[in-house]
């Protein structure tokens, strides 16, 4: 059984605590370009070959 002692510590001051911290996620834009999923092949051959086109490699590590 988990020990839950100490989980509930009444802190009467918390409600009076000013909400000075940011409440919305930080502004840090990052591009998210829409991907191509519907490139229409000109022929059945191109349609078949599309499945074997090599994939891009990761642009960088972590």
């Amino acid at each position: 059984m988990n020990d839950l002692s100490g989980m509930f510590q009444a802190d009467p001051d918390s409600l009076a605590h000013p909400q000075s911290q940011q409440t919305t996620p930080p502004e840090a834009p990052m591009a998210m370009p829409p991907q191509v999923l519907e490139q229409r092949p000109r022929s059945l051959g191109a349609l078949f070959l599309a499945a074997f086109r090599p994939a891009r490699q990761p642009s960088r590590g972590v």
Binding site: D11, S14, P25, L37, S59
Partner: protein, 586 residues
């Protein structure tokens, strides 16, 4: 054992696929020989073709289970050093009750604090809620959440002005506004729960493997109350880990994403997973509904590894409490999976990603194929040529055709075997390896498996009809929209169940009348399908009632996980009248 090489993964995939094809082909030949007894006609060929696809699909599922029983999870790259990544936990909400959702967030935050790594994690509640009353409750709930956790500055809330792109658009909106602040993002659903230790372990694995773009866990269903919910909960806990192990054997670098209870590398996700709107109108055009499969395919296309680690525990979700809610959710998934037919030829996707789309499509077409087979069988006598008792010219004695019913019986036996054998083998494996202890012991697990198989047999025809309706609606262009998930009690009275399923009862009666008129000899064969259809309201109502039996025990009920206990504690004090005003994980 380390992760299998690409070559080994190819061999496993090829071997299992060929196994499925061979079993399907065996079913095809067996049926042809049965049909040829009185002369082959067009209906025999159609039915044999339907049997080929259906048997392949069943065999494919069964082979995954057999594969899962033969291996253990490999060791994967991880580290034990200090976490260095900036992580965010994303909780998209959409008209859900904050009194249910926000205590879960508090529980996960407290669980994270117990790991000592909470400071590396932020939590962002991403609201797409359209209902102003619910939105106001979310605002109040957010303040309550901060008051209870004291996590100001680490838990955020934002509500979108419009919900373009639905859940995928919600995540995308976060990444385009705030993505650069984080390295890793844990993506959850409103009903998800994850142990802090599990999230920390996922971060360790992501940090140890720079090419890993997405790591999926296998969530277990928890908090089920109804009979149906508990059966689903048991099945998910007892069978799914084995099926998932089989899936993991075949995944290579192109594993699955199920939309939640997973962690992604933010930069990889941003680079690869911006979803376009498909040309045309819903259900096949417009926003991509089942975005998760597509995102997994796009990450793999860009060269990132996508992986499910089936050894990761501490990942939970809730499930629908009755068959109608389950069918409603399936309606959405059905539309999403059939929409993937538009993406089969998308440029640059890995072949396995395309096959995953095909699998999703087949999962929803398979019941329709079974129904088509049954209807063709009922209609077959109309197309059958008259029996020729004098097939040999000049021979004066009649030739009585030899019955090949034994072949039909053999085929039926094989199909039932493909359905039941994997589950029975999983039971045997659980009993031998001791995994059954978590389910109340081998005896209790065996009783639960027996009851689950019985309920599956009874409910399958009802789901077959719901599934068929969903497929036909999508094909006819009916968009299912984006209904909010309904969880909770789920009890349905008999009149409510009748209202939801009377069309199934009528279909069952019509099917019986048709069979009685055209193929009376088929009636005993059709009874296991037609009788549950006629009894659909009773099955739905009975299974929606609260479960009182201890049957279907799962490990999370025997030893309640920490985060579930925390969730219960937070729920208990959630109401603002509660005397507790602050909870700390000290």
């Amino acid at each position: 054992m380390s992760l299998p090489s690409d070559r080994r993964v190819f061999v496993i995939r090829f071997g299992l696929l060929m196994g499925g094809v061979l079993i399907g082909w065996g079913g095809f030949l067996l049926f042809l020989r049965y049909g040829a007894a009185d002369g082959l006609d067009v209906m025999d060929l159609i039915r044999a073709g339907l049997i080929l696809i259906s048997t392949f699909w069943l065999a494919w599922g069964a082979l995954q289970a057999f594969a899962g029983l033969t291996t253990r999870p490999p060791s994967v790259p991880r580290h034990d050093d200090a976490l260095t990544s900036r992580c965010v936990i994303l909780v998209p909400v959409y008209n859900e009750d904050p009194a249910a959702t926000f205590p879960r967030i508090a529980a996960m935050e407290a669980s994270l604090r117990r790991t000592g790594w909470a400071e590396r994690f932020h939590i962002a509640i991403l609201s797409d809620t359209r209902d102003d009353t619910v939105a106001e409750a979310e605002q109040r709930g957010f303040q309550r959440l901060l008051n209870l956790t004291g996590a100001e500055g680490r838990i955020f809330y934002r509500r979108r002005e419009n919900n373009r792109g639905r859940k995928a658009g919600n995540i995308e909106d976060f990444i385009t506004r705030s993505g650069a602040a984080y390295d890793l993002a844990v993506i959850l659903d409103a009903d998800s729960l994850m142990e802090g230790a599990t999230m920390v372990e996922m971060v360790r694995r992501m940090e140890a493997d720079p090419k890993l773009g997405l790591l999926q866990t296998l969530p277990q269903i928890v908090n089920a109350q109804s009979r149906f919910g508990r059966i689903q909960q048991f099945a998910a806990a007892f069978y799914s880990p084995i099926f998932c192990r089989g899936l993991a054997m075949m995944q290579g670098r192109t594993g699955p994403f199920w939309g939640h209870n997973a962690i992604v590398r933010v930069r990889a996700f941003a680079e690869s997973c911006g979803l376009p709107e498909l040309s045309g109108r819903p259900p096949f055009g417009g926003h991509i509904l089942s975005h998760d499969y597509v995102e997994a395919a796009l990450l793999a296309r860009a060269g990132w590894t996508v992986r499910v680690d089936d050894d990761l525990n501490g990942s939970y979700e809730e499930g629908p409490e009755n068959m109608v809610l389950h069918a409603k959710r399936d309606r959405r998934w059905c539309q999403g999976n059939l929409q993937h037919s538009r993406l089969l030829a998308a440029p640059g996707l890995k072949p396995w990603s395309r096959f995953v789309f095909v699998q999703g499509i087949l999962a929803y077409l398979s019941p329709v194929i079974w129904l088509a087979f049954l209807l063709c069988s009922i209609a077959a006598p109309v197309f059958a040529p008259p029996i020729d008792y004098f097939p040999i010219e000049g021979w004066r004695w009649p030739v009585i055709p030899v019955s090949h019913a034994s072949k039909a019986l053999a085929l039926a036996f094989c199909i039932v075997g493909l359905l039941f054998l994997p589950k029975l083998l999983i039971l045997l494996d659980a009993a031998l390896r001791g995994r059954a202890r978590g389910f109340g012991g081998a005896g209790a697990a065996a009783r639960a498996v027996g009851a689950e198989l019985l309920f599956s047999a009874l409910s399958a025809p009802v789901f077959l009809m719901f599934n068929t309706r969903s497929v036909l609606q999508v094909i006819w262009g009916v968009d299912g929209g984006w209904p909010a998930q309904t969880r909770g009690d789920g009890t349905m009275t008999l009149p409510e169940a009748w209202a939801a399923s009377r069309w199934i009862v009528i279909s069952g009666l019509l099917g019986a009348a048709l069979a009685a008129g055209l193929s009376p000899a088929l009636l005993p064969w059709l009874a296991p399908v037609l009788l549950p259809m006629m009894a659909a309201p009773f099955i739905i109502s009975w299974s929606s009632a609260p479960a009182r039996s201890p049957l279907f025990q799962t490990p999370t009920e025997g030893t309640i996980p920490e985060v579930l206990l925390l969730d219960r504690q937070f729920r208990a004090v959630w109401h603002p009248d509660s005397k507790v005003v602050r909870i700390s994980a000290a």
